[in-house]
Subunit: 493 residues, 2 copies
């Protein structure tokens, strides 16, 4: 067994440590020497690329186009939208100078005090301000609308406590920013993008989510409404996996983006923004993986099938012919496959490594198999092995990959469903929330109650969920006042 795997902490022992170790051992990412900034390693980045590709296709199908806006934002822009500045101007990286010079001792470089910027620049924590400042020049008439832009980029928020993928100072994401002629159209777009996220999470990441709308406290700074998808990790905690914001005319007003509407009247443009980030990598890892390592749904696995021969020296040529041909047949079917005939690693090492890395299907062929026309197929999610006829095995594998995608989703869905609880009693809630899960509770709509729950239990209101009855709400379990909504409350990442 590979050393890396042997050392992996079990989830039952310490879920949090298991995650931290797994990210590093599976070669997904590591901390850099720059505080809070991560290095995304090739294997982790390959997953991110699949994810990007799939999301990008879905965005484009709804008419969105990619563009690119500046990394740096003038400090004063942040102050233009009153709530936005409160939310984002606090912890951010500030560029104050544009030149270094050799120090007097000629031993290194120092900041050149003469090269101080007139106005400091902020590394974007999110780009509403710089983008709406640009839209001002693009939008004049209703004919210019809608504007549907997205950008894939890096952003930076100075975080004090960081965890790989889940919370890092620099992270990668996409941010969509749309401008519309009417309130209705903007609201529809905000909801549409949440659905795109939820469908993507289900179909590609095999992650079931709860859709809903955030409470005022948890809203994006500057939004009128924030829609969210909340996933449940194996420890029962919530992980906010994507958000879509209806921004009203706040940014239109702040950046003076006016257009002449069909009635020939001037009006501020209506806005949305929506984003998912490398945080999704954390959700993916924590939702499916096990004590043996990663479990990757086939649709997102950079490598879906690995073929490993068990051979002695000169036999290899025969294996290469037969198994190389299988790899080609699978590739022709669109399967991401690798034939691993490296002779400097023992099969056992390879097995453990591919398990750790979550490769969905492993095909092993030994000398006996070659004689008998068989092979051993193992699926990573259940670790079940089957010996099967080699002939036509590619049909089986293609079908198995789809079967696994569904099975992995169903397993997560069952866990989610089994851990959503109705709860109307605060004492009961306080006791049970420690063990994780999503709690459906009546809420009086006040920030005070929200704060109380958080102080008592660390849990927060995740959202007012879609598809949950909002009738017969009864009273808030904390305040005893009439409830205005049934909300999902959970501890979260």
């Amino acid at each position: 067994m590979a050393k890396e795997l042997k050392d992996l902490t079990k989830r039952s022992v310490d879920y949090s440590r298991w995650y931290n170790e797994l990210v590093v051992k599976a070669d997904l990412a590591e901390q850099s020497d720059v505080r809070g900034c991560m290095v995304i390693k090739p294997y982790g980045y390959a997953i991110w690329e699949t994810l990007q590709h799939e999301l990008d296709l879905r965005f484009k199908k709804t008419g969105v186009k990619n563009a690119y806006f500046p990394l740096l934002i003038p400090k004063s822009y942040l102050s233009r939208e009153a709530e936005h500045v409160e939310g984002f101007a606090k912890e951010c990286a500030v560029v104050t100078h544009y030149r270094l010079k050799t120090n007097e001792e000629h031993t290194g470089v120092v900041v050149d005090p003469a090269a101080r910027l007139e106005e400091e620049l902020i590394i974007r924590p999110t780009s509403e301000t710089i983008i709406w400042n640009t839209y001002k020049n693009w939008i004049h008439s209703w004919r210019d609308l809608p504007v549907l832009c997205n950008q894939w980029c890096n952003v930076m928020r100075w975080e004090m406590r960081t965890r790989l993928f889940l919370r890092t100072s620099e992270f990668l994401w996409q941010e969509g920013h749309t401008a519309h002629a009417t309130r209705e159209e903007a609201e529809e777009r905000a909801k549409l993008m949440l659905d795109v996220y939820a469908d993507f999470a289900r179909d590609i990441l095999a992650i079931p989510v709860v859709r809903g709308v955030k409470s005022e406290t948890e809203r994006f700074a500057g939004a009128l409404d924030t829609y969210t998808i909340e996933a449940m990790m194996q420890d029962g905690k919530a992980l906010q996996s994507g958000t879509s914001h209806f921004l009203g005319q706040n940014f239109g007003r702040a950046f003076d983006v006016k257009f002449v509407n069909k009635e020939n009247k001037e009006e501020y443009a209506w806005a949305t923004s929506w984003g998912v980030s490398t945080r999704l990598m954390g959700a993916l890892i924590m939702t499916h993986s096990d004590d043996n390592g990663l479990v990757l749904p086939p649709h997102v696995a950079p490598l879906q099938v690995v073929i490993v021969p068990i051979f002695k020296g000169p036999e290899i040529e025969m294996f290469d012919t037969v198994l190389g041909a299988l790899a080609e047949r699978l590739e022709a079917r669109g399967v991401r496959v690798k034939y691993d005939n490296a002779d400097n690693k023992r099969p056992g090492f390879k097995f453990a490594d591919y398990e750790l890395k979550g490769v969905p299907v492993r095909v092993v062929v030994g000398g006996r198999d070659l004689e008998n026309g068989t092979c051993e197929v193992m699926r990573r999610d259940t670790l079940e092995k089957e010996t099967l006829p080699f002939e036509g095995i590619e049909d089986h594998i293609v079908a198995l990959l789809e079967e696994m995608q569904t099975a992995i989703y169903n397993k997560a869905k069952e866990r989610l469903d089994a851990n959503i609880f109705e709860c109307n009693d605060y004492e009961e809630f306080k006791e049970r929330v420690k063990d994780g899960g999503f709690f459906l509770c009546p809420w009086d709509g006040t920030a005070e109650t929200e704060a109380q729950i958080k102080a008592d239990t660390q849990a927060t209101i995740r959202c007012v969920p879609y598809g949950v009855s909002q009738d017969n709400l009864g009273v808030d379990m904390v305040s005893g006042k009439p409830a205005v909504a049934r909300v999902v409350i959970a501890r979260s990442y």
Copy 2:
């Protein structure tokens, strides 16, 4: 005729202004309010995406994998490699603080002096330092080599005079960074990537280039050899379009990246780095475009074919059926096509706009065509129109796109070939270089001569070109001393 087009300055009047206007009028990019930083608009970004996709495929075929490294680099890292710091530590964006706070008047935000970083961070101008600092932990034995990483990202160099795509403070690029066990392997990789760039420029961008190696003066800061591809713009100036560096053991030594080789001895790893940037967009635009706007080679055009009906009111349904079906047939053949039946723009406006945007093929169908079973096909490169049978037109279009790709390349290649001159006389050179062109001249190998040429003519040594005889060099045209190489000299962007 669309207003934008009518106003486009002619190349013969002012080539430089023509370029600046075209970039903006064709909706490719614009200046942002942040000094030197551009906004890449959706149409420009779509070209960049095609380009990225094609390059990425080619990188991966050579075994390269994508990864991501931090945006910010500790100031001290730059000083680790002596030449590198000279080249890159001068004009760069410096992060000194990590927090803003509300000002005393509560009217805006100011930098919080308490949140000063212990060590300043630099926004990456290039990532050799941070990447080699990371490789230190990845590389221990020859078995860990080669490491072949690439990243697609933004970088920042504080430029005083900027031009869209050609020279901007922030730009997008890819940077490949490889580590090898032997000098030979690293040198081979550096040359291989230059070939990848040159083949890509030829096959996708339809840009012929001169390959060669840079003089010491023009080398990348920290490199032992810099290989380059130099393209010739329509004004005869050179545009350096991609570089690949053999870095020797400089970064291995600076960041202490040692490995145990097959002979069980410790050795520093050998390095290469190579990159192309959004500058390629400038090369693409300036190589092919004309006084009517962009000319895009079909392989890189986001939209390859546009179908425009000329109709009166109710006729539109008939057009939609027939031309919608054509668009579908083309799409099925892998053609990027748009059927533009918008009724709020006149056909003349559409024609001018698609010309300006460089859509390679335009198909126009009027009422008479519909009766006669014909259509008008225009190719953007020559502006030639042909009336052709509608039936089977998709075969013609698919073939035409390939024909145009070749024709556009050939035209550029003929111009390049016709403007490379042998020149051994400095007076003649000084006179002729004003009109542009690449001059093949004998050079004595000294930086003094190089500086003299630059001072006299603004021209620089672009490279020692591949495939040019280095026999019978004679004497340097400036110094009269024995020449050591025949080099390409040109004015450049």
